[in-house]
Symmetry: C2
Subunit: 340 residues, 2 copies
């Protein structure tokens, strides 16, 4: 466990910080950014080869051409945050080097030539950084990388210029969402550390499933260590706020317990569940398990359910195509995974 405190917590920080991620954007010197090319391009294909050559043997991966992947599989990888929607759009020349255990993922010819990320379970930003930094060192020593002494790494989008790094934690904040403190107290912590907090599921500012990504806004004028420090500090502070709200909810009596039990009853009995309701029910059930109010289902089953129940994964898994079929398959999966 990282972070400031090791006081006697009533909850584990791992119940709140789902995963930690570091992503680095790099580009090859003398080559246009991927979006400047249309269709197949030898220059971009050579980037793929050169990157693969220098990481070969560093980790156990699959080399996946976007053009050879079914659409559902692509969307399933997006749902797992292993590739981005932008890579799916660049299917003609895009590829991903995906570690078999799904921690390291190197997207090739997305918005930048190289986007290398490491995503790990729990609050482990330092470990994620160490792993991806080791790979980045190899790439930067083997390939001519676009780097400016004044600005740092050059990227397709100016918001990534500098470190080219995005450090983030994925947070489960049901109590803060229920008590309406995300705008207020949490917003202050986020601003104070120069970060951004956004919902993981749902469009725009919606935050279905109470899952949020906390990440740095600036990549310029701050070192990698400083950026990671800000994200760690804010993550810790938000966890403490979430903890306080969970305690309040626990002490609030039967109504809260009733709400969570009803969500459990619906999630384990419904025949149709649309993704919005599903994510909301899962969030409440997960909170109920964490707080020991609901039957002690393994959180791993819940996380598995979350990954499998996205429309893309579900569709490739069950062959469901229209909305009702997807809602039916999602509800069936929930019943099966939660009531064994």
């Amino acid at each position: 466990m990282q972070g400031k405190g090791n006081t006697n917590r009533f909850m584990s920080i791992s119940d709140t910080v789902i995963s930690s991620r570091i992503r680095l954007a790099r580009n090859v010197l003398g080559l246009n950014f991927p979006n400047a090319y249309t269709g197949r391009s030898e220059a971009l294909f050579s980037v793929m080869q050169r990157v693969e050559n220098c990481v070969r043997g560093l980790f156990d991966y699959d080399f996946i051409f976007m053009s050879k992947l079914q659409n559902e599989k692509k969307l399933a990888l997006v749902a797992q945050h292993l590739i981005s929607p932008a890579l799916v759009k660049n299917s003609a020349t895009g590829a991903v080097l995906l570690e078999k255990k799904n921690e390291i993922s190197i997207m090739l010819n997305e918005e930048d030539h190289i986007r290398a990320q490491c995503i790990v379970q729990g609050f482990e930003l330092d470990r994620a950084y160490r792993r991806i930094n080791e790979i980045d060192d190899k790439i930067c020593s083997a390939l001519p990388i676009a780097f400016d002494k004044q600005f740092g790494f050059l990227t397709a989008c100016p918001t990534n210029v500098g470190t080219g790094m995005r450090a983030s934690t994925m947070l489960f904040l049901p109590a803060l969402k229920m008590s309406g403190l995300l705008e207020g107290k949490v917003g202050e912590v986020v601003k104070r550390n120069g970060l951004t907090l956004r919902g993981v599921y749902g469009e725009g500012s919606a935050s279905l499933g109470c899952m949020f990504q906390l990440s740095n806004t600036a990549t310029l004028g701050q070192s990698e260590a400083e950026i990671i420090g800000f994200v760690k500090t804010a993550t810790n502070d938000i966890c403490l706020l979430e903890e306080a709200e969970r305690k309040k909810l626990l002490a609030s009596g039967y109504k809260f317990s009733d709400k969570l039990h009803r969500s459990f009853g619906i999630l384990t009995n419904a025949i149709l569940l649309d993704s919005k309701e599903f994510l909301e029910l899962v969030a409440e059930v997960k909170l109920g398990i964490i707080l020991n109010i609901l039957p002690q289902i393994e959180l791993k089953s819940i996380d598995k359910l979350l990954i499998l129940s996205g429309s893309a994964v579900l569709s490739s898994l069950t062959g469901a195509v229209n909305t009702e079929q997807l809602d039916f398959a999602r509800a069936k999966l929930a019943r099966e995974l939660l009531t064994k």
Copy 2:
């Protein structure tokens, strides 16, 4: 099974007709009606004795003085339709001769001196009439009963003058309620037979739990056999309408099944259930069991749950006093009885 049809039904009529009841109102000649007396009255006490003397040995009963019964027990008997709220009001001089198996109940000094009823499970109006008529014959031959050659039996309320009889069936009509046909098609059947249909639970015209009582309006100008005939005909016709709607709902796809499964999930998981929501959930769960959509819980458990979960019974059973305690006890009972 009584009634017109013995065509190949997909549902048993006993799933729709919960119980059948015949009630007879009688008064002793030369004595004021009970409401004319205030407080204890020797004349009214003598009625009790004389009725008991003439039915002794006819059936196995408890003689219960209202004045010696705790309020919760009184309300519990009301909830089971074994005594009326009017008898509870007349506690000073009221009593009930209650058959141990709860079919025969003779209220003494309610609105009339004698109100004898027989309530039986299922669609058995003839059997209910035979049983109560046998007892009524004994009473009418042993006591001087107020009877007018032109009008028939005389009663405290003019709406009972004549036969003094109320014949009724208690009907479970969830599909007709869901499809909004109670006012239309059902209303026509009720009117055509000169009857009344009203909700069993809830005040006024509310019909919580989809339980309805169908009974005759007139007691004057019709024979006992005619009245029973009208109630039987209308009961049969309404059962056929309910059956048709159940078939439509069954054929309507996942949404209907989803609705019933959710109700089951909430009823078997909630921590707080108010009586209104409880009755609605029970009705849907019962329908789901009957239609073989939900786990095949015995309908007896559901009926037991309905009787035990009324606030009065629940209070005497668990000691719950305020609304939250009652809602908690009701939900606990539902979980226990339905998820064994």
